[in-house]
């Protein structure tokens, strides 16, 4: 079972939430078979990042109207909430659709959003910085869930 945890974002204020979380999870260590990667250009790079993965947890900043710093597991139809500041309109939704067209979208995929508020320059806002612990716990539990599903043969 190969699991990817993908932190999506760009080094701009709260849009870096996914990158910051990936760095934190990487430092903390994850179970065998789980690889943490960061992805700054999801629209085109997600197929490569997802190649060979059986399951994935994707974390990105979102703009959903929730309170700043809220952490939520999102349903696949909530994809447009993941903040796309990419050029040419190539965001996470595009990247996942491209991965699917290329047969690289894993059957098990969980999405996690962290509500952004802005942030200044390269720095995360205090709200998002304060949300990283909660987000890390949620991602760990999703990873455990994916591993348990695989172990028990559930879909």
């Amino acid at each position: 079972m190969r699991v990817r945890v993908i932190g999506v974002g760009t080094p701009h204020g709260d849009d870096a939430a996914g990158l910051a979380l990936a760095a934190r999870l990487q430092a903390a260590g994850l179970p065998e078979g789980v690889r943490v990667v960061s992805c700054q250009r999801p629209g085109v790079d997600l197929p490569d990042v997802l190649a060979g993965a059986d399951a994935a947890v994707l974390v990105d900043a979102m703009r959903s109207g929730r309170a700043p710093g809220s952490v939520a597991r999102l349903a696949p139809d909530a994809l447009p909430l993941l903040r796309s500041v990419s050029s040419h309109g190539l965001g996470v939704a595009n990247g996942l659709a491209l991965a699917e067209a290329l047969g690289r979208r894993p059957r098990r995929l969980a999405l996690v959003g962290i509500e952004g508020v802005g942030g200044e320059g390269d720095a995360l806002s205090p709200e998002v910085r304060g949300a990283l612990d909660v987000a890390a716990v949620l991602v760990r539990s999703l990873v455990d869930e994916l591993l348990a599903d695989a172990a028990s043969g559930r879909d």
């Binding site: 250009r41 085109v44 790079d45 197929p47 490569d48 990419s86 040419h88 491209l98 067209a101 290329l102």
Partner: protein, 435 residues
């Protein structure tokens, strides 16, 4: 009574930024045509004033998510010329490698995801991936190599931070580059196969008289250095840019239009570079150009996709050449600021990017001017469309609109650079109400 109709494209897709096209046709002739660029002004030139020149390479990288290297390169060349900084030959070579990485990324993104859907009659790159999986995977593999080069030298793929006046903050080891070199050698065949695939697609043909402008270097395919030359005999150096070109404002665009003084619109970009530097292409790239002979018999903006494919080969060959001869350079030299103006002109993926910077004696920016390629191409795009529209008016409205959009995409406009892009409105007005 005159028949008047209007074509409106309210929001152009698959271009970078926000813009629109408005065309009014009267008695079958184009009465009015505007490439509206309504991207809000970004004021980079204003808010960079007063910043330290040492911050500039990182700050200008934020102008564009697709071509940050170009902004960094034109800026450091301008500053190095202002402060008389000598650049080590290996730094010069590394900069060519860095630029090759950006060309690979930008060209492959455009060819496969922005342009190919037009030739295949598909909506987007995802549909192309569904129908032509092997080709899309090939383009992604090639593009990933460009990405690796950018990360190696720039530190990160978005808003890279590796460049400083005189060199790079960190020079890669020989081993880091050697691994990449092996992969690039294997990629050459893939790039040839990709170009071959594009040759088989129904790419439009739209030859027209055009003044082409690009850098030309004594013996290299141009990236960072060379004279600014044109197909009609212009020959200038970077600091003569203002004597050769003029910028002017038009009401429908938040980006300035450019023209050659005393003449008019001109084209910058891969087509102009290939055209003006054929004999400086690598043997592989040159062979690819020769095999496309008829597409390069006359300037044709629609053939830009082939020029990009040729430059993908050129970028791979150049990257291999730099890597094979690489020795890590010494740390960047010391330098002192002085009150001076420097000029830099380098070849962004979309064409010539001119930047001039005036520093004060303490190294604070007094003035910076940025003339991006898409801004320079605006007048040329409008001229091209004025010729195209009458030839496609008899088609159903959607097809007319699509032909216009596709023609605009031939220029791979980057509107967020030029300020951002495209809504197309094609209005067909007629008194009889038939339009």
């Amino acid at each position: 009574m005159a028949e008047r109709r209007t074509i409106e494209v309210g929001a152009l897709a698959r271009v970078e930024g926000e813009g629109a096209l408005h065309v009014a046709i009267e008695d079958g002739a184009v009465a009015e045509l505007r490439l509206d660029i309504y991207e809000p002004p970004r004021f980079f030139e204003a808010f960079l004033r007063g910043r330290s020149v040492t911050e500039l390479p990182d700050l200008v990288a934020r102008i564009c998510g697709i071509c940050p290297v170009a902004y960094q390169m034109s800026t450091v060349h301008a500053l190095e010329s202002a402060f008389q900084v000598e650049v080590h030959p290996q730094v010069r070579a590394l900069r060519r490698l860095y630029y090759a990485g950006e060309w690979l990324e930008s060209h492959l993104l455009h060819m496969m995801f922005l342009a190919a859907p037009d030739y295949l009659g598909l909506d987007d790159g995802i549909a192309v991936a569904r129908d032509h999986r092997a080709e899309v995977e090939r383009a992604l593999r090639l593009r990933a190599l460009g990405n690796r080069i950018l990360v190696l030298l720039g530190g990160r793929p978005v808003n890279p931070v590796g460049v400083c006046i005189g060199g790079f903050h960190r020079a890669p080891s020989r081993q880091e580059l050697a691994d990449l070199g092996d992969e690039l050698r294997r990629a050459r065949g893939e790039a040839e196969a990709l170009l071959h695939w594009f040759r088989g697609l129904p790419v439009p043909v739209r030859p027209q008289p055009l003044e082409l402008v690009a850098l030309r270097h004594a013996d290299e395919y141009p990236m960072n250095e060379g004279r600014v030359v044109s197909s009609d005999g212009l020959d200038a150096v970077a600091h003569e840019f203002d004597q050769a070109f003029e910028e002017h404002q038009v009401p429908h665009s938040t980006a300035l239009h450019s023209r050659i003084r005393g003449r008019g619109a001109y084209l910058v970009g891969p087509l102009a570079r290939v055209w003006l530097n054929r004999e400086r292409l690598s043997p592989t790239a040159r062979a690819a150009l020769d095999s496309l002979g008829s597409r390069f018999a006359q300037p044709d903006p629609a053939a830009s996709v082939f020029a990009r494919g040729i430059e993908v080969l050129e970028a791979i060959d150049e990257a291999i050449r730099v890597i094979d001869a690489y020795e890590p350079p010494p740390p960047p030299p010391g330098w002192s600021p002085r009150a001076a103006t420097g000029h830099g002109a380098t070849e962004a993926p979309r064409g010539l990017l001119y930047i001039s910077v005036t520093s004060d004696a303490r190294g604070e920016v007094e003035e910076i001017r940025i003339v991006p390629p898409t801004a320079q191409n605006q007048a040329c795009i409008e001229q091209d469309l004025r010729g195209l529209v009458p030839t496609v008016l008899d088609r159903p409205h959607d097809e007319t609109r699509r032909a216009c959009e596709s023609a605009i995409r031939d220029y791979d406009p980057c509107i967020s650079c030029s300020v951002h892009f495209l809504d197309l409105t094609v209005e067909r007005r007629s008194p009889c109400g038939c339009g």
